[in-house]
């Protein structure tokens, strides 16, 4: 068994910190965008207008069938090319980051959409009837009455998906973007201490995810009362 030498880690912390920032930035942007788009998709899915409902279902089913790795590769290899051609932008790393975030938003939105849809359907039908009976238009009823209740019901599930999203961001590795894990691995290889850095990164992810999921469980218990 090889000896593990952890001494490389303290020196690497500033670099790792920068990688962590990338992870958090992607997570934050994908979370906000994913929930926003997911809400739109969920509302369309339950709409009485068949074409809209069908479109939403097609979108969600498509993105839930394809691996995230493929979606990231698509956006890495295909989209920047398209953007550069269409908008005559300079080829820079910036475009890569943006398209990565877009890829995550589009992908995660499909998963958020299903959670939010379940949330909408968990609100009793009578609520919609009451809102319509008062003269609200369907859009108003959704916005003021149904969605607030749906989100309240689904908060624990949304947060759990957020934790999954946080872990998913590590996959930017496949397109060479250096997030927390990518940085850790790169430093490990540079210093010949790959095993230690990988284990360290794993431990950090574990701590954050474990703590977060515990908080969610506590929240769940509070909401159930």
């Amino acid at each position: 068994m090889t000896e593990l030498d952890w001494s490389a880690i303290p020196a690497a912390l500033p670099l790792l910190g920068r990688g962590a920032r990338v992870t958090l930035e992607i997570t934050g942007a994908a979370l906000a965008g994913g929930i926003a788009l997911g809400t739109v998709l969920a509302v369309l899915r339950v709409s009485p207008a068949r074409p809209l409902s069908w479109l939403s279902a097609a979108y969600v089913n498509t993105f839930r069938t394809i691996p995230l790795v493929m979606v990231l590769l698509w956006f890495f290899l295909v989209v920047p090319d398209v953007l550069v051609r269409v908008f005559a932008l300079p080829r820079s790393a910036d475009v890569r980051f943006t398209t990565t975030v877009v890829a995550f938003v589009l992908f995660e939105a499909a998963y958020f959409a299903e959670i939010i849809r379940a949330g909408i359907q968990s609100v009793s039908r009578g609520q919609l009837s009451a809102a319509l009976a008062l003269g609200m238009r369907r859009e108003q009823a959704m916005r003021l009455i149904i969605l607030p209740q749906a989100f309240r019901n689904m908060t624990p599930l949304l947060l759990t998906q957020a934790i999954v999203l946080f872990q998913d961001t590590s996959l930017v590795f496949v397109i060479g973007l250096l997030d927390f894990f990518g940085t850790a691995d790169a430093v490990g290889r540079r210093d010949g201490r790959q095993a230690e850095l990988i284990l360290f990164a794993g431990a950090i992810y574990f701590t954050v995810s474990f703590a977060a999921s515990h908080l969610v469980k506590q929240l769940e218990r509070r909401l159930a009362t």
Partner: protein
């Protein structure tokens, strides 16, 4: 303007002896093999752990809980790296050397099998646990009252019923394993996603290769869903969980305590 050239798939690869399409198909074969192997492991480990989470013994429950928490809170990519890069180093010297001497493909496949197996096993564990817990307490009580030992009760009554309840979420996990196999491309397994990448490098025709690979993933998904549907139909118990009303554990008759 992009020049579409679907014929590129039928061109021979530089090293000769195969077409690019053959490469894609070999990637498909690897994906299927790795996923199915991992699924078997996941079912075994997951069922065991799922049962352990519901037994009276505190220690056993804690062991199973620790397993689930460990494999659920670390990203899949990191787990792949641990199995591939770290575990061989942590093994006793002789065993470690043997592993590192294996052909590269075997090393990648082995790591993929173990990683996906244990990762998915944690999720299967939770499904099995939920399934067992959702059965009316009466089922367990009735089995024990008839004189079954606890293991017999699990084998004869609790597990068979639970599995029917959890077929839908289990199907999701099966689909997930095929999707997650794509991450194995990062530890040099030449599965489907890796082939898509390789083809793009060799042919400079990204759209054709990507579309083909994406279509194959969709195809796998559809095939699996159809298969599971068939299975669901075959094992359905009449009067117990018609369709999707299993929210509160189905219609299992309550036995007076």
């Amino acid at each position: 303007m992009y020049h579409w050239r679907w014929g590129v798939l039928l061109e021979e690869v530089p090293s000769g002896g195969a077409t690019y399409l053959d490469w894609i198909l070999s990637g498909l074969a690897t994906t299927v093999a790795a996923s199915l192997a991992a699924w078997t492991l996941a079912l075994l480990v997951g069922t065991l752990m799922g049962v352990l989470r519901t037994v009276p013994s505190r220690t056993l429950r804690a062991v199973a809980t620790a397993y689930v928490e460990l494999f659920r809170n670390v990203p899949l990519l990191v787990q792949f790296f641990v199995w591939y890069f770290v575990v061989p180093d942590l093994l006793p010297a002789a065993l470690g050397a043997r592993v590192k001497a294996l052909p590269p493909f075997t090393q990648s496949f082995l790591a993929t099998w173990l990683c996906l197996g244990f990762f998915t096993g944690a999720r299967v564990c939770e499904q099995v646990r939920a399934g067992i817990e959702s059965l009316a307490r009466g089922q367990r009580a009735a089995a024990l009252a008839l004189g079954f030992t606890l293991p017999q009760a699990y084998r004869t009554v609790l597990l068979p019923l639970s599995f029917r309840i959890i077929l839908p979420p289990l199907t999701s996990e099966l689909l997930n394993i095929f999707k997650n196999s794509a991450v194995a491309s990062t530890i040099n397994l030449l599965e489907l996603a890796a082939q898509a990448r390789q083809l793009t490098d060799y042919t400079a025709q990204p759209y054709e290769s990507f579309l083909t690979v994406t279509a194959l993933y969709v195809g796998i998904n559809l095939a699996l869903v159809a298969l599971m549907h068939l299975l669901e139909g075959r094992v359905r118990v009449p009067g117990f969980l018609h369709g999707h009303e299993e929210r509160d554990g189905g219609g299992a008759p309550e036995v007076a305590p």
